[in-house]
Symmetry: C2
Subunit: 233 residues, 2 copies
DNA sequence: ATGTATAACTTGTACGTACAAGTTAAATTT
DNA sequence: AAATTTAACTTGTACGTACAAGTTATACAT
């Protein structure tokens, strides 16, 4: 294995396992040089990659600090979730993780391999000021997640749980967006009039474990809180 | 100015002006080294940035080639536009660029500076198989775009025109997504039943020219063609 | 004619050095 | 005590060298 990749993976694993927590500074570049008997060129290459992948942020003169890595809704975030900190945000489980079946509600094609495995499912309702904003339904194979049904979510986050307890990271995602009429069942849960437009987001999360793909269907009431994203650079 | 930035900007400008066209190979790293009397470290840093910003792609053993840079809908693309090449895709101007006024239809706040400048506007309808899929309405200040109203679009693309003729690049964007009922006017243009859900995408494009921000409002019929995007790494 | 080695290119990794530039805390001066 | 300088850290830029690894056309051998 290449040296810079070894360093990078080593640091990444320590970040995932919580050896370095969010906000912590990693050892300085020269520290790592002496510790692993390599040159700064190599260390910097590793750090550059961690930066690109969103694990750290750098500041000249200070150091490299572990960053909160946001992969919550893929590239999309609901306005008011991360930004509006002052808001009263709640997440309620409508269905805790259970054994379920692969359903046609999943709009991305479920891989043949996944179909042969058991299907786990959970469903959450995200609310801002007690107003339901996003209904989130998730399916995934439980094959590579031993004891998942007995596991408590790390800090209430599914992805943090995957990272911390199973060393699984999201490395990509595909999304499809549709504007639809709210069906009766959803309208009720979302406290919307039946037939009101809802933003339907289908996501397929790809992870660093080829056996784990996560399929999510999100239904958003965008009346008060539009779904937003931005990128720069 | 830093050396690697100078090299990077120089190459970028040549790509924008068409000195290096899409598919062309840039001079090799050692070529650039001798030509500008710098070391490969510096050249590689410049190339790395061009890679990150999407201007080039690299292949070990072959070289660095100019890439088609897609910033069409920000991060979102309509499924069937880029992928489904075999499809019958058309773009029709409903309104060629004209002098207009800043309107409240723009959902992102228009900057105070922009408000004092003249407002240019154009409107296009994107169709797949003669079915209207996206109605695109664009506003921007004409202050830094001399003779824009007399200018032909480069390859039918607004952004290519900005790049080629004005050396202006999109460096970021913010988006907000909403599911709405189609108003009468839109429903008619889009050949939809009035009240049908439409996906409304508001975009603010930020460019490398601080005086130019582009405001776009897109209205998408997602019934047959959902809006999609994906990212990896 | 056809397959094979070679040579000349390309980018990728890794070594080592030096100094610039930003940050911070301790030492020094006022 | 307070302001200022200094020193010791951090990351950033740039120098130069060497070889690995992938690509391709040409020369060579079969």
């Amino acid at each position: 294995m290449l040296k810079y990749q070894a360093i990078k993976e080593g640091l990444k694993k320590q970040i995932q396992q919580g050896v370095f927590k969010v906000g912590d500074y990693l050892p300085s570049e020269s520290d790592l040089c002496t510790r692993f008997s390599i040159t700064r060129t190599t260390v910097r290459k590793a750090m550059e990659e961690l930066l690109k992948e969103g694990y750290i942020e750098k500041q000249q003169g200070k150091g490299s600090r572990v960053r909160e890595r946001q992969t919550s809704l893929g590239l999309l975030t609901v306005k008011g979730f991360s930004e509006a900190v002052g808001q009263n945000i709640q997440t309620e489980f409508l269905q805790k993780p259970v054994l379920s079946v692969w359903t046609s509600e999943i709009l991305f094609p479920v891989s043949d391999h996944d179909k042969t495995e058991q299907c786990l499912f959970f469903e959450r309702l995200r609310m801002v000021d007690n107003l339901p904003v996003v209904l989130e339904r998730n399916w995934f194979s439980g094959a590579v997640l031993p004891d998942f049904l007995k596991t408590q979510f790390v800090e209430g986050s599914f992805f943090k749980t995957l990272s911390r307890k199973y060393l699984i990271e999201v490395i990509g995602s595909s999304q499809e967006l549709r504007a639809e009429r709210a069906e009766n069942h959803f309208a009720e849960v979302m406290q919307m009039e039946s037939g009101t437009p809802v933003l339907h987001i289908s996501i397929r999360f790809v992870t660093n474990n080829p056996q784990l793909t996560i399929y999510s269907e999100l239904y958003c009431n965008t009346k008060k809180y539009p779904v937003g994203n931005s990128y720069f650079l």
